[in-house]
Amino acid sequence: MRGSPRWKACAVLTRWSWALLAVVSALALAPRPVFGQTNPGAQAAAPTPAAPAPASGPATYVGSEMCQACHEDISKAFRANRHHVMEVDKKRGWDGKACESCHGPGSKHAESTSADDIRNPAKLAPRESERTCLQCHANQPTNVGRVQSGHGRSEVACVSCHSVHKTHGGDRGRARIMRINEECAACHASTWAQFQKPFRHRLPEGVMSCVDCHNPHGSLLPRSIQTVNANEPGCFRCHGDKRGPFTFEHAPVRMDGCQSCHQPHGSQNPRMLTRHEERFVCLECHANIGTTGIAKSGGTLGGVPPAFHDFRSARFLACSTCHIKVHGSHIDRAFLR
């Protein structure tokens, strides 16, 4: 609450973060690089050797054929991988040495065959591993939400989910969807457990995947929810009838989203509701305390005056029996039609 030591500490942090934003903006607009770093173009012009440069000199590029001599299985799988375009496309500058575009020059490794003499992005710290990928992928649409996403901030490296060598050409249809879900569930086990409840979106059946609703690279919306129609929640992609705009909006749908009443991953309650009986979903907000004026310091939105619904009657135990247009109504402010 305002005035508490925790609140004051947070307020100070807010001010500092704005100051940080201002400083960073100024630095970004500075006419030349700062912090002694060079631009990526200059870096790429002389790619940093992967392994620590030995006294005898830096490692040099040896070409993919040399790699294939020992890593034949990887090389074979790689041919069906999308990254194989690096090997054959001369315009990208790595033709004939696609392996070294990520692993760095391999002459030392080729001589010693030691894993210490080659860069392995899978074993690097996420920061370094990510930079390897972003060397090419930084300026792409998928990267727009990275900074805002939980994965980006929590240092989940690209290689945690993406397999750079392998091909999943054999995984199509349901198998591909299941593989995506397995990939996500490997870390989000408790979320996957929610899909085992009886009322759920159909992920265990393999007809939906996590990325149908979430963008793992990040999104404008919290929880990396996909967007549709530019900035609307991705839920409306399939549930177009709930989109509106309605003459009379149900405010939580717009302000808190579907999850204010539903558990979209799965629920033991019908219609994936958050409570076992529908009336509690409604009454927890509509608590029959009229609220006018600014809702703060205890006042909240959604309060309604006494409706005199007699809860001893079964007729009033399920609100949506009468308030059928609870997602929003075109005709009636009370959502009766």
Partner: protein, 662 residues
């Protein structure tokens, strides 16, 4: 919009690769940064491969409640095309390099899906996706005021199909300038049961016809260069909704007793909605890397959906107006309404790497809605022969902002710590309920959140990641909003040996709102453990499983509507969930080794709605020829609910079929 569309359509004519000589001399980072969407197809002749799973499904039972079975499972009996896929690879074709087609669930299954991908390197990428999903929901316990009279027909149910088409064509994938066009359609039709309610006097379950459709068109162009990228997109939607309710039977509704000495009933109803909507939307997103130590990303998004409504209603019977206590026998209503919802969003994100081991994330976003609407309603009843027109308006304005800063520091090569702060603030204006005297309600949002986290990596054996949030809210919109909450997640992976790995996750969320009119206490804890054992890369056997224990409790004060006495809404859920799968490939018959899979899932809970849901499965796959496999599957579904035992069901499902492979 038209100008943009024209530009987008002309762009392929101008989209050129960078001049070759210069490009070849430049280093890699100066080259086109994005790899093409498809790798070069392997050289060679045309290759056609694919498979089709043809089978027959037998459904035993289901014993118990058939409507609950259809609501939860809904698998039907009969011949099915369970899966099919086809791949054409032809690098020498001038029309395509690769075409893949796959589908699943054909033959009346509740989840049909088909996807087509076609591509020609440097020329186009095409994706088409079709889904047809059966929505059936007819649970006896849901919205059923007559359940205590042994009437097991819900008053809110539906049986419909929702279909979704998505198609996107991207020109010159991998080039610096990549235009694209896309179209999608989402539509649903079916029938259901819904209620006709004038007010609290009575409600009448009636037939409900459902049909709605949304078409979405969009086109854009993606510019990708070494230091920046820009995507510009323009689109639009059209929407229609033609829902109707009708009946011609006498219907006494849910009120069994007379009201003020008269029985209320409905003898006829025609109620029709005709909603038409449209929208434009625009999207501009960009990333910029001026120097190696900073990444900048920004987006501006705008949409403006609007809708026009025509509504008509004619009902006959015996009704009462609760505000005047006058009875009437027929009523005609018509209404027109329109609403508009301009919606702007934007964000800017920075990642700065001032030092080798330090990363700073800074992001700010805003999201602004403003719905304005009006309604004109004409009402004619026998009691008041003249038509009464009422005009009303509504508005909803929401401004949401979020600013977040975070620093990640690599303390050691194996340890990264992070800390940050998020500030969320906003305001909302909405019309107060009429009973509150109209006017407007204003809400404000202000929340400070401290962010903490760490990640430890011990080679590739052990990985531990933890995140925590501590929040303090000054103002919040709703009684159920999280105010002063604490949230934490701890995840770990341990690869004991190459063939055996363990995973674990623990998450907790607690919230408290001590306001004497709210008293909201929430606590949620989830603990998951899992393992995978796949010796020799799962050549002969793979065993995997996971188990989750979850507890959830929530207490929130509310007031009983009839007498405003305080009461507590309490919800409890203590659940055990598990999934397991054992894959065994027979060591005999090397070329035609049968494969057996045994597994399934269970969920069982105690608390407010004790529920058990079991779904074991056994699959057998028997290759009988290089191109033919016989498969069979047994699955069991069982649902039981302690308090709603009449909704339980159990069913055995058998599938047998052939997989033909080319």
């Amino acid at each position: 919009m038209r100008l943009l569309l024209v530009c987008a359509s002309l762009l392929p004519l101008f989209a050129q690769d960078p001049p070759k000589p210069a490009a070849e001399e430049k280093p890699v980072a100066e080259q086109t940064p994005a790899p093409a969407k498809e790798a070069a197809a392997p050289a060679g002749d045309r290759v056609i491969s694919g498979s089709v799973d043809l089978g027959y499904r037998f459904v035993s039972g289901p014993a118990g409640n058939f409507d609950a079975y259809r609501t939860v499972v809904n698998l039907g009996e009969g011949p099915k095309v369970l899966n099919f896929d086809l791949t054409l690879v032809n690098p020498s074709s001038k029309w395509y390099d690769k075409i893949t087609l796959f589908g699943t669930g054909w033959g009346g299954d509740p989840n049909e899906m088909t996807r087509l991908d076609a591509s020609k390197q440097r020329l186009y990428d095409f994706h088409f996706d079709y889904r047809n999903i059966a929505y059936y929901n007819f649970l006896p316990s849901f919205a059923n005021p007559l359940i205590d009279r042994n009437n097991f027909a819900t008053q809110r149910g539906y049986d419909m199909r929702r279909r979704n088409i998505e198609a996107e064509l991207r020109f010159r994938p991998g080039a610096r300038i990549t235009p694209y066009v896309a179209y999608s359609r989402n539509w649903g039709d079916g029938r259901g049961v819904s209620t006709f309610a004038l007010d609290a006097s009575n409600e009448y379950p009636v037939f409900n016809g459902l049909y709605d459709k949304t078409d979405r068109y969009r086109a854009g162009v993606n510019f990708e260069f070494t230091k920046f990228h820009v995507t510009l997109e323009q689109g639009g939607t059209t929407y229609k909704d033609d829902e109707n309710l009708s009946t011609s039977d006498r219907n006494t509704g849910s009120r069994p007793t007379p009201f003020l000495g008269q029985q209320l009933f409905l003898t006829g109803l025609r109620q029709a909605y005709r909603v038409r909507g449209n929208s434009i939307f625009e999207r501009a997103v960009a990333t910029y890397t001026p120097w190696s130590w900073i990444d900048i990303a920004a987006a501006f998004l705008y949409s403006r959906p609007r809708s026009d409504v025509q509504y008509s209603q004619f009902n006959t019977g015996n009704f009462v107006n609760l505000s005047t206590f006058q009875f009437f026998t027929s009523q005609t209503q018509s209404a027109t309404a329109d609403s508009s919802q301009p919606h702007s969003s934007g964000n800017i994100n920075l990642e700065i790497r001032p030092l080798r081991r330090v990363r700073v994330f800074e992001s700010w976003m805003t999201d602004r809605y403003h719905t304005a609407s009006s309604l004109t309603l004409s009402n004619l009843t026998i009691v008041t022969p003249q038509a009464l027109s009422t005009l009303s308006a509504d508005r909803l304005a929401i401004n949401y902002n979020r600013q977040q800063a975070q620093v990640n520091i690599d303390l050691f090569r194996w340890l990264t710590v992070r800390a940050g702060h998020r500030y969320v603030w906003g305001d909302a204006v909405l019309r107060a309920p009429t009973e509150n005297g109209g006017g407007v309600n204003r809400g404000e949002l202000s929340q400070q959140v401290g962010l903490f986290g760490a990640q430890a990596r011990f080679g590739q054996k052990l990985w531990i990641n933890g995140d925590a949030e501590i929040a303090s809210s000054d103002r919040q919109y709703f009684r159920t909003s999280l105010g002063d909450y604490r949230k934490g997640t701890l995840r770990a992976r341990y690869q004991l040996i190459n063939s055996f790995g363990l995973t674990g996750e623990f998450s907790a969320l607690t919230n408290e709102d001590p306001n004497p009119n709210i008293r909201f206490d929430l606590a949620s804890y989830m603990t998951s453990v899992g393992f995978v054992w796949n010796p020799k890369s799962g050549k002969r056997i793979t065993i995997l499983g996971d188990y989750t224990r979850s507890t959830f409790s929530s207490d929130l004060l509310y007031y009983m509507p009839q007498d405003l006495t305080p009461a507590t809404s309490s919800y409890r859920e203590r659940a055990h969930t598990g999934t397991a799968l054992v894959d065994i490939a027979s060591p005999v018959g090397a070329k035609y080794a049968p494969k057996l899979s045994i597994g399934g899932s269970f969920f069982t809970s105690e608390g407010s709605r004790p529920t058990s849901f079991y779904s074991p499965i056994v699959k057998l796959n028997l290759p009988v020829h290089e191109r033919v496999q016989v498969f069979s599957e047994w699955r069991y579904y069982g649902l039981s609910e302690t308090f709603y035992s009449y909704e339980g069901f159990r069913s055995h499902i058998f599938v047998a079929g052939l997989r033909l492979i080319r």
